[in-house]
Amino acid sequence: MLNNNPFSLLAEIVSPFAMQGFIIAMVLLIAVGTIIQMIHHKNLTYFFNNAKKAKLAATKELGIGEKTSIIAKTTVVDIGTTSELGFGKRRLAHVLGMYGTILFWISSAVLVFCYTGVGKSNSETWSMLWHVGAILTCLGGYWFWFFLRVDVSAEAHPWYRIIKADLFVLALLACATFGLAWSYTQFNNQMGLSFLFLTLFVASNLILFGGVYWSKFAHMFYKPGAAIQKNLAEADGSRDNLPPPADAPEQFGLGIKREEPKHY
């Protein structure tokens, strides 16, 4: 099953052009939802105002080379490993989900555009990546959903309480789960179940990408921007008005160990 492209079997009843059109429509939905959200929430205005304030408070002018190096380092270290989440389960679950989702989406597009249709060969590698991406998304997502959600772990709400902030993670998990279930049932010729899971897979995609304006989807674009701005502010000395790291002396006493926020 893992080596099998689920979209090529589907191409027998659904035109590959319809599948490609669906992916393009989903990309457009992301763009439209994010732009409307940016206009409504004034995220860009906030970022630019912050950048202006930082420039005024800067103690050091950064050259283009320095800025590029900070942005590159932030992309690799901070964004690529979600370092803002510190060391622990939250970061691991997020990294699993993040790379799983990226693999899942990219391999979906590659499979549909390059390996689905009459006369097109199967790509075992991309099919494998599609399944692995979905599995990683499920691993990270369900770990987060059942054990790590802050409103459950720090606020003591029950795990089954669903709030608006769950729209993104639940829709994403539904996509990955129903996608895997569809692939499995289709591979085993369980046609009824296969159609059911395909319908659920399509519906969860529509909710995920159609709900960008209402969900946390766009945090994937804002968080990298915020990380870059934070590191640039540290480098140019403005530091959002924060004091510099202590250096005289560098070590006071023995230091303390931060505990998990679970004292409700």
Binding site: Y46, F47, E84, L85, G86, R90, R149, V150, D151, S153, A154, E155, I163, K164, A165, K216, H219, Y222, K223, G225, A226, Q229, K230, D240, N241, L242, P243, P244, P245, A246, A248, E250, Q251, F252, G253, L254, G255, I256, K257, R258, P261, K262, H263, Y264
Partner: protein, 156 residues
């Protein structure tokens, strides 16, 4: 004055929720980030500001002087055992302070209340607080105010 959260910095870790003595730092239902649900009940203890690992919490000044450019921000580096403050005055003066958080081993001097004896009803009704009088390094009887000397309606 009350706390507020920079949403771009907050990652929803829950440290502020955990530490807030007024229980007013909560997680927003729409974006799963921290927020102060009752700014009027905030007494500016700065616990959440100091506990936030991402420096995402700040304290809003009163409207009559906040727009004039003051700022009080703190960086707590627990691995170093330091806490640093940067105070920016309205006239542009800046002051920086660095202090130790504690010089004692962490956890050693925190009273283990759960391991202690359960207080009896007499101790609960007593005016003495936990560990008194030994905790005050004295074995002498502590002064007390008899309840019948209270004026009704003033104290209780």
């Amino acid at each position: 004055m009350s706390t507020f959260v920079y949403m771009t910095r907050c990652d929803g870790c829950g440290h502020c929720v955990d530490i807030c003595p007024s229980d007013i730092m909560h997680i927003d239902e729409n974006i799963r980030r921290a927020k102060n649900i009752e700014p009027n009940f905030c007494w500016e203890c700065y616990s959440c500001v100091k506990a936030c690992p991402n420096h995402a919490i700040d304290v809003r000044g009163y409207a009559d002087f906040a727009p004039m450019g003051h700022s009080v921000r703190v960086r707590r580096e627990e691995e170093k055992g330091t806490i640093s403050w940067k105070i920016k005055f309205r006239n542009g003066t800046e002051k920086n302070f660095v202090s130790p958080i504690t010089t004692k081993p962490w956890g050693k001097f925190i009273p283990k209340l759960a391991d202690g004896d359960t207080p009896n009803q007499g101790e609960i009704n007593s005016q003495k607080l936990y560990s008194e009088p030994e905790g005050l390094n004295t074995n002498q009887e502590l002064p007390s105010v008899p309840k019948d000397s209270f004026k009704k309606g003033v104290y209780y």
